[in-house]
């Protein structure tokens, strides 16, 4: 089973929910798919990391064979190739690795070479297996790395995915193939606006979902009213509590200091399992 924790707005508590849920259930496979700014490891402090490099195929031009005909640059939809007067140049960061330039080159002057764009780290913390991706700084395209992190999904295990914020391509890439989505929001106008955008995306993907309201009590009733009007389940409310915020700031999952929450997260998991079953 794959449960993905997402949100439109950043900083609503995705990582808090993903980590505390995983630790409460026990023996889970926890995948941090926010490869631009992964944060799960700041709460779990893994040691003995197994690290591997992730590469993407990138064109490399054999300038000897190249006749500067310009067909590659004309084909490239991503402005990643510039054909000058003496040389054909590739802008690696713009390249989407579609392989088109190699296909259209009439001189067979383009080859693809593997170029590293980030890393994947794996570790075990107690009975939790953690996998997280880390996009290299200056690399714009996160989706390939997210796919590689998701290759570590274990079909027979409970997989919990921590998604990046927003509703654009990295989020979609993370959400795909999930059995259930937990959308974490906060009860504020920003939280509501970004939640409603996330709901639009989730409906398009047709995945069952529910909402967790974090920092309940800090703002207004907008999110609750929205969920009621749209028949969206509110799975859990985590009240605003300075202790939770301070524990987070120190990198401590709050169930460790507030054990009563362990049961609530376990109940949440039971409820999600039922919702997934009913959905089938």
């Amino acid at each position: 089973m794959i449960i993905t924790v997402a949100s439109g707005k950043g900083g609503t508590g995705k990582t808090t929910v993903a980590v505390n849920l995983a630790l409460s259930i026990g023996s889970t496979n926890l995948l941090d798919c926010d490869v631009e700014e992964p944060n799960v490891h700041t709460l779990l402090l893994p040691t003995n990391l197994q690290t591997s490099s992730v590469t993407v195929p990138t064109p490399s031009v054999d300038q000897g064979k190249c006749t500067l005909c310009g067909k590659c640059a004309e084909f490239c939809q991503f402005n990643a190739i510039f054909v000058g007067k003496t040389k054909t140049m590739i802008y690696n960061e713009m390249c989407h690795s579609c392989g088109g330039c190699k296909l259209v080159c009439p001189e067979d002057a383009i080859n693809e070479v593997e170029r590293p764009i980030g890393r994947i780290h794996q570790s075990s913390i107690g009975d939790t297996r953690l996998v997280y991706g880390e996009l290299s700084i200056g690399e714009p395209i996160a989706t390939t790395l997210i796919k590689r992190v998701k290759d570590q999904v274990k079909p027979n295990a409970i997989n919990i995915l921590d998604a990046p914020p927003g509703t654009a391509c990295p989020v979609i890439e993370t959400m795909r193939d999930s059995d259930f989505l937990v959308l974490v929001t906060e009860p504020t106008p920003f939280g509501l606006h970004d939640l409603s955008m996330a709901v639009d995306v989730v409906k398009e993907l047709n995945i069952p979902f529910g909402v967790i309201i974090n920092r309940a009590g800090i703002g207004d009733e907008g999110v609750t009213e929205y969920c009621r009007k749209n028949d969206i389940q509110i799975l859990m409310e985590i009240p605003f509590n300075r202790t939770i915020a301070e524990l987070y700031s120190r990198g401590i999952p709050f169930i460790q200091e507030m054990p009563e929450w362990r049961n609530r997260f376990n109940d949440l998991f039971v409820r999600i399992t039922e919702l997934v079953k009913n959905g089938e």
Binding site: G8, K9, G10, G11, T12, T15, D34, E36, E37, N39, T42, L43, F75, Q77, F78, E93, H96, S97, C98, G99, G100, L103, V104, L135, I137, G138, E139, P140, I141, A142, P164, P165, G166, T167, A168, C169, P170, I172, E186, T188, P189, F190, H193, D194, M197, D200, V201, E204, L205, I218, G219, D220, A245, E246, Y248, S249, R250, G251
Partner: protein, 298 residues
């Protein structure tokens, strides 16, 4: 010459938009630009009146003509994005590269223009504003960010305004790179949490990579004083000026709920005063920057 200043954070939810809107209210001669095209929120505080909308069409999408398609599967094999299954195109997965069109022996595939968002030019209480909205699930956020910046700079130039104040998106990927490339100053809003520090370090390195001057605001500093001091030390070691600390205060959320910027909602509040001082320092730094450039030019 228009100065572009972007408020970014790495980590989401540190207070970028609230602080950006407040600075916009304080600043004179400004154009606002919401470059968080994926999840824009600035309009909630600034209630813009939209004056013009432009469809953002920057990518293509494959369309298969069922009558011509023989289901040979060559396109499916050639697509690197797993966007074609059983001769059907997955519009979300398709990146518009055109490889399928190229390999199709029946000429059954056509690349068609694809709208991935809208670009808006608006009026607000603080001044003119450029903003945009990516359609749900779309890519190409980097290019749309570039369009927002171009529009904002054009408005500033036409109206003789000196500064564009940009609200950025979280992360360090494509939209953030498009936001910070070639700007004058990046203001990083961080918080004293382990993840806040981690994410600030990465976005600071990104600014360094693109040779953009960095300033830092530590929001909710009193959540963890030890971490606040660690951030200040890190900034000192890495050439980033700390503009100051903002304490955790529910007034920030209250002003958001009231759909107002902080200086409107609570003009005499200490955080409003503090932000006023931050902006003074920013403009001072921008003008000294200008002079430096002036000197090098001669």
């Amino acid at each position: 010459m228009v100065n572009e200043v972007a408020v970014i954070s790495g980590k989401g939810g540190t207070g970028k938009t609230t602080i950006c809107a407040a600075l916009g209210m304080i600043a004179d001669e400004i154009v606002m630009a919401d470059c968080d095209v994926d999840a824009p929120d600035l309009h909630i505080l600034l209630s813009p009146t939209i004056k013009s909308t432009t469809a953002f069409v920057a990518s293509k999408m494959a369309v298969i003509d069922e009558d011509l398609c023989t289901s040979c599967g060559l396109c499916e094999e050639a697509c690197r994005f797993d966007a074609i299954t059983d001769s059907k195109v997955d519009s979300i997965a398709c990146e518009g590269c055109g490889v399928c069109e190229f390999v199709c022996p029946e000429h059954a595939i056509q690349m068609t223009d694809h709208q991935s968002g809208n670009l808006y030019e608006s009026d607000t209480r603080v001044g003119r504003m450029a903003h945009a909205k990516l359609l749900p699930g779309e890519g190409n956020s980097g290019r749309l960010v570039t369009e927002v910046r171009k529009l904002a700079t054009r408005i500033a130039t036409e109206n003789g305004l000196s500064t564009v104040l940009i609200d950025g998106s979280p992360g360090i990927g494509c939209p953030v790179i498009a936001t910070v490339t070639g700007i004058k100053l990046g203001i990083i809003v961080t918080e004293p949490t382990m993840s806040g520090i981690h994410d600030m370090q990465r976005v600071l390195e990104l600014l360094k990579r693109f040779r953009v001057k960095a300033m830092v605001i530590i929001n909710k500093f009193d959540l963890n004083l030890e971490n606040t001091e660690a951030i200040e030390r890190y900034c000192a070691e890495n050439d980033a000026e700390v503009l100051g600390r903002i304490k955790f205060d529910s007034i920030m959320t209250q002003s958001m709920v009231a759909a107002q910027t902080l200086p409107e909602f609570a003009p005499d509040h200490e955080i409003s005063q503090l932000l006023q001082a931050f902006w003074c320092r920013v403009t001072e730094s921008l003008s000294s920057h200008d002079t430096e450039e002036h000197h090098t030019m001669h």
